[in-house]
């Protein structure tokens, strides 16, 4: 099962320059605040898709839920 640290590492590896603050009480439900320059100029949907791309096929499965808040620095 992925830990909050795993999820953080995956997001930061996927989006260069991103900083992710990830929390999880149970390693199934995650909550992440992601700050990245790469988000600038993108819609919220596009920003979230960028993060989701780090977890292809796992969202809704191993990672039941990823609450997301995206911001630019």
């Amino acid at each position: 099962m992925p830990t909050a640290d795993d999820v953080k590492a995956r997001i930061e590896a996927r989006i260069p320059g991103a900083t992710a603050d990830v929390q999880s009480p149970d390693n199934v439900h995650f909550s992440a605040r992601v700050v990245a320059e790469a988000f600038s100029g993108l819609s919220r949907i596009q920003q979230h898709r960028l993060v989701y791309a780090a977890f292809e096929g796992e969202l809704g499965g191993e990672i039941h839920a990823l609450q997301l808040k995206t911001e630019t620095p």
């Binding site: 009480p25 898709r49 969202l59 809704g60 039941h64």
Partner: protein
Amino acid sequence: MTEQAPNQIRDAIAQAIGENPVILFMKGTPEQPMCGFSARTVAALQAVGAPFAAVDILPDPRIRQELSALSQWPTIPQLFVNGEFVGGCDIVTEMYETGELAEALGAEPAKAKPVEEPAVGARPMGIENRLS
């Protein structure tokens, strides 16, 4: 042939999105949401006071599969307004708090009262999604 092919399900989803100005695909029903995130999204829509159609994706796993293929969005709930994908729970909640949701739905901006935050660990009731 009684078995619906996946593309027929996708067509039915596309048709529902086209026919309903505001439509929410969710787990459970607005009266009985089966997941905290669906419940929170329903609460935001109800707070804005705009009527919306709702589709329960739980009865057939192919609905979820085809919906996500169509929207390129992995999670449930999913809100569509005037045929356009608007977002899931986090985006809808954020839009509610900023007043954008009321604007998008053509409703009067609701008095800014925060939607109740479910604890991150709150387990959604009932059936969990089994699709990868």
